[in-house]
């Protein structure tokens, strides 16, 4: 189709700093999720924002069901964006699925990233023999069928659960972006995400990572943060946010921004 990737994925570059910071949103949101975090970093960084191809703000026609069957395709997108913008070194903040994408991208191009900041990251959502990812296969299937049955109802139920903390504005915002996604894409992406298993490749990451995790998160148990810390190959730190929910950038932006600042400055 010859459509520019940067346009298709709504890539934006803002801020007046020298250092480059990529903010990558997670599942069910789009780049607007960073809105409340942005002001803290605008003066100090050049910030690259983009939408994942599955986001509601991207033309759904671009979502190729044959291409985006694994996270690697998303990694391609990210690396292509960075290449197109001629980024040679950057900090990367990835939330949820974007954290996974960041991990994979840094394995492929370790030189490109100075540091990864993984927000609510999980290498694997399903439980395993010696691993507690937080979900059982059966539960997931139930969620999927709920999603298929009535997307709107699912969104209305899932959003507050995911946001966790009692922040109506955040719930509303997350519901909005989640609802903007086309249901079949949402379902497909969640299947992709739940199908992914990064546990075998974490050790290939060589760059330092900072794992930021809410103390209570329906999607990611706190133990996963420790797992990441122990298994990622670089020098890692863990920051536990004393807040609830999978989306601290929506529900507790100030707190998160402080932690991010700290993580970026180290």
């Amino acid at each position: 189709m010859g459509i520019n990737l940067l346009e298709a994925l709504n890539v934006r570059v803002v801020g007046s700093g020298e250092k480059i910071l990529v903010l990558a949103h997670g599942f069910g949101t789009d780049q607007s999720a960073w809105q409340r975090i942005l002001p803290f970093f605008l003066p100090h960084y050049r910030i690259i924002l983009y939408d994942l191809v599955c986001a509601g703000s991207v033309n759904p026609d671009y979502f190729d069901f044959r291409r985006y069957t694994s996270l690697d395709a998303y990694v391609d997108d990210l690396l292509n964006i960075l290449d197109a913008l001629r980024v040679d070194r950057c900090y990367y903040v990835g939330h949820s699925v974007s954290a996974m994408i960041g991990i994979l991208a840094s394995i492929r191009r370790p030189d490109l990233f100075i540091k990864l900041i993984l927000l609510g990251a999980s290498p694997r959502f399903l439980n395993d023999k010696n691993y507690h990812g937080g979900f059982e296969q059966g539960e997931i299937e139930k969620v999927f069928s709920a999603m298929e049955a009535n997307y709107e109802a699912w969104v209305n139920g899932f959003a507050p659960l995911s946001v966790g903390a009692d922040v109506p504005a955040a719930v509303q915002e997350f519901s909005r972006t989640l609802f903007n996604m086309r249901p079949d894409i949402t379902l497909f992406v969640s299947r992709t995400v739940f199908n992914s298993d990064l546990r075998g490749v974490l050790g290939l990451v060589r760059i330092p990572c900072c794992i930021i995790q809410s103390a209570q998160d329906v999607s990611v148990p706190v133990s996963v943060a420790a797992y990441l810390k122990n298994h990622l190959g670089g020098r890692n730190t863990v920051e536990i946010l004393h807040t609830e929910g999978h989306l601290p950038h929506l529900s507790a932006p100030n707190l998160l921004a402080r932690v991010l600042q700290r993580a970026l400055s180290r």
């Binding site: 990737l5 671009y62 913008l85 997307y151 903007n180 298993d197 990064l198 290939l204 946010l241 004393h242």
Partner: protein, 1093 residues
């Protein structure tokens, strides 16, 4: 807040704005306060050639005459509008929230739809305010159709709003809405900072390299991509699914599947070295065999005409396994390197490592390997053999659906609360249809008084509901019902009735299912939940009498009769039943009917939720009691059907238990206080039948027997419980309360648990009825290794992750309303728990986090705290904290000779025993510190998933962030809470010191018995702590003493046999720090044997 018309108009194109004006006019004419989606629909339908009408006529069900169906639609819109409350006339009735939301939705939708982008861009240029996308009429209508009220109205007339949407989106041919042929241009202005860049930015999208190859999984395509590279072209797959991916790739290459390999690699061969290498490495194969294989590869390569050969070396693990000789590996690697160097043009290598650790091990051994082998690491994170399973999904879901919510699938039926009225396109013959119409219009006139629907209440998040159904079915969800659904429900019921009549009377009528869309290709579904109030039921019953079909159809299942207690048995219709019954109660029976197109209607019925909440606050307030009655039962051919086993099960169940009305028919119906009262009144008999709780003495006796200590506390507890459960002390309104609130102060947390468990067992029949929650850890065991915490109480564990404590309690209470709720460390309750508890103790109803209330009329709440203890003695040696830290370690006997130590040779056993206690008393600091350290270490090695955050933080490298302190808040709340409990009971601390002394004596005695008086014994404090903890936990007084007699003595004997009864031997009893007990002695938390070293 309704929106002014002007504001709303700004969001619309001229065409859509005109439609809105019409809607406003309709609202004004009818003197309605707001303009809603219904008005818009009415206005849109009013025009003879409107888009909506057009779409409707194409989406129309073929079962009806078009004229008739449109009339039905108009009628149902009209009736719905009639039901809106009128107010004083407003010039421009403002836009209701729901309609405004529809406009907003269409804006968002339009922004996403490419064909509207031209428009969007234009507007952006014209008026810099980006927020305003002008909504086209089509999108406006689409969003309005999403409005549940609207889709219900359409549904009543037999239109599926999904069908209408479809026909709106896919106009027959050259309508003005046809898609533009050319792909839209994205003009998003990407400029900032990169303007000066001369080279064109960006990539073609999606990337052409792969998009042309629909077959093969993504992993294989990536592997092929690496093979085509000029350097780093030998893929090494890393990841949990690496081997599967490798296999799948080899498979597709072997089978020459299209689309995996690019054109230039067509004809590539794979040679597997895996087997040969493995055999060589583990010694079963010889080097010659391997050499032969390598030679063979070389020969093939010489003669090979195709692009070349890929060597599959399989799992890398075989090269780094510990058992493999380094030498062999070195040789294999060298050979492979050589081969690759020699034939680099035509030879590839592919391998897999299931974990990064394998790879890094390999890399450690051969640091240059990445270069030597020209490896390219490929992280494999998922494995999907093919994407066919997925590609069908999207097509089913349909990209034409801008907003979900109407995918009909069987999953819908599991959600009894979604008041979705999907179009019921039941075929009826003309005669029946007319009769139906008559009745329907009569009913509509009758029902006009009902108030307007609040659309939110019916849109309960079904996702949540579903989750709840799994876990806490019992919550009374019937409250969420909406008056406004009544008429709709009645109409559906009526329609169903006529459908059935038609089916039965006019059997010859074929059953063509008018299904227009693919979406509903198989199922015609009805998922409805009917509620009506008594008044309406009455009127309907009379109308049904007239119709003359009542006798034929209104045979009511008898079980329903039985469920509503005050009714006499017999074959009266439910209406009469309700009328005759003394209406103190609210009876609501909701039935979800499930239809499938291929079987005759109503042949499969389930009753997922039968609830009989009977709430009767006081006789004086009866005047305004409404009776909710399920329409489904009114019209009940269900009972004729053989398959409704559940229903019958219920009825049997109910009938089998005369006297206990409505007891066990379903967990879901447990919210009836009536029921609970009933159960509790006979609970002495019901639950085990041992005891009458009213009898103070028997309770006291039983408790004392089960707990075995804390006599004073038990006396007070028995007294309080008896007093409260007699029900003659506390009153809430006119009703006596039977819930008991106890607060245990002081030490002895094990004793507290024991008392609570004993209460559950004595009063409610089983320990299962103890709901145990430690509020301090909330979802975690504080120290997973601790002996005391190991007690598997029926707790709040990882399964309830994501649930608040309050919800957990509520769920459990629903399941087991008569139980003891045991809340340890009440001082750590969070705010939510605090407010729930406060409300519960005040009102007798426990609210969950959704503010749904669960009656606690037969629950005993026991809270504990260790603060403010009067009994805190100074100078005790074994404190409770110390015992709590005791771990479940294996105990070991170490025998040491003390020959060299002349000064000690004369010391006899007694002295050493004293010395031992001396060590304990003088240096308690040291061991406890040691234990602390041990705790920390164990935390590190055993990362427990339930470990509270604090535990992790203590570890290095973790940084904690500030948290809100709620302590002051808690103090005040606690004081208030303590004021309200029925009794505060102070428990005395367990006397560990004297117990320790006794145990020591016992050990010494047994020791001397077996070893004689010449040997010395040293008992390490950890072991003593373990013994004390066991004694503390044990139900029997002498359990530890028995253990000493059996287990320890046996070990002393064993030690003597091993080392002989030599004098000057020091026997040490120590705990093995890292070895945990695998096998316990029966009935006690101590090891079944002691290791003798």
């Amino acid at each position: 807040m309704p929106t002014p018309v002007g504001t709303a108009r700004q969001c619309l194109t001229d065409e859509a704005a005109r439609a809105l004006d019409d809607a406003v006019a309709v609202a004004r004419r009818r003197n309605h306060a707001q303009t809603t989606s219904l008005h818009a629909v009415s206005a849109l339908l009013a025009l003879p050639s409107s888009t909506l009408r057009d779409a409707c006529s194409r989406a129309r069900s073929s079962a009806y005459l078009p004229r008739l169906q449109f009339r039905a639609l108009e009628l149902s819109v009209g009736v719905s509008l009639d039901r809106l409350p009128t107010s004083k006339s407003v010039d421009e009735p403002p836009i209701s929230n729901s309609l405004m939301a529809a406009i907003k939705r269409s804006q968002a939708n339009q922004r996403r739809h490419p064909e509207s982008f031209h428009m969007h861009q234009l507007q952006q240029q014209q008026q810099s305010s980006l927020s305003c996308v002008k909504v086209e009429l089509k999108h406006f209508i689409l969003s309005i159709l999403d409005d549940p009220i609207v889709s219900r109205v359409f549904g009543e007339a037999g239109f599926g709003s999904a069908d209408i949407k479809l026909s709106l989106l896919h106009p027959p041919s050259s309508s003005r809405f046809s898609r533009p042929r050319c792909p839209p241009l994205f003009l998003c202005n990407f400029t900032s900072g990169f303007d000066s860049d001369p080279t064109p930015l960006g990539f073609p999208f999606p990337f052409p390299g792969f998009s042309g190859s629909p077959n093969g999984d993504a992993n294989s395509r990536r592997i092929a991509g690496i093979l085509t590279k000029s350097e780093r072209r030998n893929p090494l797959l890393v990841g949990i699914c690496a081997n599967e991916a490798l296999r799948s790739f080899s498979d597709s290459v072997e089978r020459n599947r299209d689309g995996v390999l690019p054109e230039e690699l067509k004809g590539l061969k794979i040679i597997y070295l895996e087997k040969v290498l493995c055999e060589f490495l583990n010694g079963t194969g010889t080097e010659e065999l391997m050499d032969l294989k390598f030679k063979e590869v070389g020969q093939i390569l010489e003669t090979c005409s195709g692009p070349g050969i890929v060597l599959g070396i399989g799992e890398l693990k075989s090269l780094v396994d510990d058992g493999v000789s380094m030498d062999a590996v070195n040789r294999v690697v060298a050979k492979l390197t050589e081969l690759l160097k020699f034939h680099w043009k035509k030879l590839w290598l592919i391998g897999a490592a299931s974990g990064d650790d394998t790879y890094s091990k390999f890399l450690n051994r051969f640091p240059e390997i990445e270069k030597d082998w020209d490896l390219n690491l490929l992280p494999i994170t998922s494995f999907m053999p093919s994407i066919e399973g997925f590609s069908s999904k999207p097509s089913l879901m349909g990209s034409f659906v801008p907003f979900g919510g109407f995918f009909t699938s069987p999953a819908d039926f599991k959600i009894p609360l979604t008041c979705k009225s999907i179009a019921m396109t039941q075929p009826r013959c003309h005669l029946c249809n007319e009769k139906y119409e008559q009745e329907a219009s009569a009913m509509r006139k009758g029902g006009a008084a009902t108030s307007v629907a609040d659309q939110h209440s019916e849109k309960l998040p079904s996702w949540l509901q579903m989750a709840e159904l799994d876990t806490n079915k019992g919550l009374d969800t019937a409250k969420a019902k909406d008056d406004s659904t009544a008429l709709n429900a009645k109409l559906i019921g009526l329609e169903k009735k006529w459908n059935d009549i038609c089916l039965r009377l006019h059997q010859t009528q074929p059953c063509p299912l008018p299904v227009n869309s693919q979406l509903k290709s198989d199922n015609v579904c009805t998922d409805s939940r009917f509620v009506s109030n008594l008044k309406e039921s009455n009127s309907r019953s009379s109308s049904l009498d007239e119709s003359g079909y009542e006798n034929q159809n209104l045979s009511l299942p008898v079980d329903t009769q039985n469920i509503s207690p005050p009714r006499a048995n017999g074959s009266i219709s439910p209406l009469c039943g309700v009328k005759n019954a003394d209406l103190h109660q609210k009876v609501s029976v909701s039935i979800s009917l499930q239809l499938e197109a291929n079987v005759p209607p109503l042949s499969r019925c389930t009753l997922p939720n039968l609830s009989v909440p009977l709430d009767n606050p006081s006789p004086s307030s009866v005047t305004s009691v409404t009776t909710d009655l399920g329409l489904g039962t009114l019209y009940a051919p269900i009972c004729h059907e053989p398959k409704n086993s559940r229903l019958q099960d219920h009825s049997e169940c109910v009938q089998n238990r005369p006297g206990s009305v409505s007891t066990e028919h379903d967990d879901a119906s447990e919210n009836s206080s009536y029921r609970r009262a009933k159960i509790s009144s006979c609970c002495g008999l019901d639950s085990g039948g041992q005891l009458d709780p009213k009898d103070f003495k028997s309770l006291w006796g039983a408790l004392t027997e089960k707990v075995g200590r804390q006599d004073e506390a038990i006396c007070l507890i028995s007294h309080t419980v008896t007093r409260c459960r007699m029900g003659n002390e506390k009153f809430r309104g006119a009703k006596p309360r039977r819930d008991v609130w106890l607060h245990f102060l002081g030490c002895d947390i094990v004793g507290k648990r024991k008392i609570a468990a004993a209460l559950a067992e004595i009063l409610f029949g089983s320990r299962e009825n103890l709901i145990f929650i430690d509020l301090r850890t909330q979802g975690g065991i504080s120290n997973p290794l601790s002996l005391v915490c190991r007690q598997d109480l029926n707790g709040y564990d990882a399964r309830f992750r994501g649930k608040t404590v309050v919800d957990f309690i509520a769920t459990e209470l629903c399941k087991k309303p008569h139980s003891v709720v045991f809340l340890e460390n009440i001082d750590s309750a969070d705010l939510l728990a605090q407010s729930s508890l406060s409300q519960a103790i005040r009102t007798g109803k426990f609210p969950d986090s959704h503010r749904r209330e669960i009656s606690i009329s037969d629950t005993i709440f026991v809270t504990t705290s260790t603060k403010n203890s009067l009994y805190r003695k100074e100078g005790t040696e074994y404190t409770e904290e110390r015992i709590l830290r005791a771990k479940n370690c294996q105990i070991k006997i170490i025998v040491e000779s003390i020959s060299g130590d002349t000064t000690r040779s004369g010391i006899d056993v007694n002295v050493l025993a004293n010395r031992e206690s001396e060590v304990n008393s003088t240096g308690p600091q040291e061991p406890s510190e040691f234990q602390e350290r041990a705790c920390k270490r164990s935390r590190k090695t055993f990362l427990d998933l339930n470990l509270p955050v604090q535990g992790i933080e203590e570890d290095c490298g973790y940084v904690s962030c500030e948290s809100d302190s709620i302590s002051e808040n808690s103090e005040a709340w606690l004081e208030e809470f303590y004021e309200q409990v029925d009794e505060k009971v102070e428990l005395k601390p367990f006397d560990f010191d004297s117990r320790a002394k006794k145990l020591m004596e016992k050990i010494m005695y047994s020791f001397r018995e077996t070893m004689g008086s010449k040997c010395l014994l040293e008992v390490h404090p950890e072991v003593m702590g373990q013994l004390l903890a066991a004694a503390w936990l044990s139900d029997r007084m002498m359990a530890v003493e028995d253990w000493i007699d059996q287990v320890m003595c046996r070990s002393f004997v064993e030690a003597r046999q091993k080392y002989g009864p030599a004098a000057r031997t020091m026997i040490k009893l120590v705990a093995c720090e890292n070895l945990f007990v695998e096998e316990h002695a029966p009935g006690i938390c101590l090891p079944a044997r002691i290791v003798v070293n």
